[in-house]
Amino acid sequence: MSSSVLEIPHLYRVEGHGGIRVTVGDQGIEDCQMSIFEGSRFYEALLRDRNYFEVPGIVCRVCAICSVAHSLCSTYAIEDALGLVVSRPIKRLRDLLNMGEFIESHALHLFCLATPDYLGFSGVLEMQPQFDKEVRQALQLKKFGNLIQERIGGRAIHPVNVVIGGVGTWPEKKIFDELREGAQSALAILRQIEPLIASLQQEDYATQDRVYVALEGDEDGLILGHGDRLQASGHEPVDIHDYSKYVNESVVRHSTAKQSRFSNRPFMVGSLSRMVHHSKLVTGEAGQILRRLMGEQPAPNPLLNNAGQFVELVYCCEQVIQMCDELRALPTQPSADPYHLHPEKTVRGTAAMEVPRGTLFHSYEINEEGHITDADIITPTAQNLAQVESDIAKTVQTWLDSNKDGGDERLRKNLEMVARAYDPCISCSTHLVDLTVRAS
């Protein structure tokens, strides 16, 4: 009996360091692994014994591209522990900040990391001479996302304006005018780019049934923000405080990142999951584009996560306009003082947020001295890893069923596109493809 090992030791154009290894024997696929070999960072241990109000400023450094997500989610979790519920204006201001990170992250991933694959380029630098206008437009979108973070978060990176119990400084009304105008310009760019996104061929080699997980929309129907209940295909909604009963984390030998399962099944979080669960909540121009790009019910094809990100870019810009109108119309500046009191006894709080790559969980235990005694962070990339492995196996099986059509090069490209479609942020979850085929 013989077997072949298909190995992609380093996957490019993803955040961090990872690889893919598939073993194929006479009877088919024997093993399939997506490995993360970025060094473990032990974020949770780093937070122990810190004052709770230091946490948002520390966790935002976990990753340059997800800093708002970690800062906001940790803030909501600590507020949950302390029994604080912020006012609607403060929540809406934080939602606006989160929109900034979505726009930056999706613009970068969709146009600069994923699209080159579809168009046959090895990367955005090679794509740029032929698609100069589109690449510059993508960078304009990213810049607008950064601008929101700079104006609302206080800095272009690693926000300082998110504080426990409120915000540091309330923006002047002219900031909301500036961001509203920026969102309208971003929408105009997205309308010009839609034909390019619609022309990208979404092959179905990884299409298979899956469990989709996303947070329920909030009281305004916002699907990209802080939520109280998880929705999973085929399950009743789950209170996020019970996340550990359902999102089961386990250590796997081949990776420094933990893997997650939902009730013992791999699952998918991110844009495609949100589109599946919330297609009716996506209205306006984003809703029309959703139905044009993905139909009434999106197919279970992980590559459609890229199309979902485009819909969310439009959705975010529309939301920015609404949020700016609401916040600008406030008659008085909301009270937004930071909170520094210690709890009377040890308390625990949990929060979940929809962030660019999926659902993010932060949970903290705080003692009566205000120190963190336990912390748990489960990132979207860690949640997706088991489903990525399943989709990689499906991609290899489709290739085997086609009598290895296109050879190793075709397989390498397809595997890379599947892994990249998840927009993995490996820096957060603790790269991806040179393909070698060797007899084991």
């Binding site: 976990v62 990753c63 340059a64 600069c112 740029q128 690449v135 960078l139 990213k142």
Partner: protein
């Protein structure tokens, strides 16, 4: 209005000495609060949100080349682009990010840029600079303070 001089710090303080660029930028910003000085963490591409750019820019970062920890490197950008380094923000790495900025951002191309890098010792202890790297950073801080005064 365009500033004559600007400084950006790059790196991640959660990864020990890798954060030396950010450490320097923060310290310089506190010393010269009205100057164009920014901590960009691990994502140089975010500089696009900080326009108008200064006429001249000093970029501070960490480097691992095998030299003595804490030693200062004054590298040209062309030399930096020839180095095999890739690890950095969101799949591009420093070389990819510089490539994208140079291909698409005319204003960035017009800045006179200087790179000053400090050799790292450890990248495992969060928020802690090794004594050798701290000494190198202090030396660079003094040089930059003189330059900015």
């Amino acid at each position: 209005m365009q500033a004559d001089w600007g400084i950006v710090g790059l790196g991640n303080p959660l990864a020990g000495d890798d954060g030396v660029g950010c450490w320097l930028a923060e310290r310089l910003r506190k010393t010269f609060p009205s100057r164009w000085i920014h901590d960009l963490g691990a994502d140089l591409l975010k500089i696009q949100a900080l326009q108008p750019y200064p006429k001249q820019l000093i970029l501070l970062d960490a480097l691992r080349s095998g030299a003595k920890p804490g030693s200062l490197h004054y590298l040209s950008e062309e030399k930096l682009l020839q180095s095999p380094t890739t690890a950095a923000a969101h799949g591009f790495g420093l070389k990819g990010t510089l490539g994208l900025l140079r291909q698409t951002d005319d204003a960035f191309c017009n800045i006179k840029r200087e790179w000053r890098l400090i050799e790292v010792e450890q990248i495992h202890q969060p928020f802690v600079l090794s004594p050798t790297v701290q000494a190198g950073a202090e030396q660079l801080f003094k040089q930059l303070t003189k330059q900015l005064q």
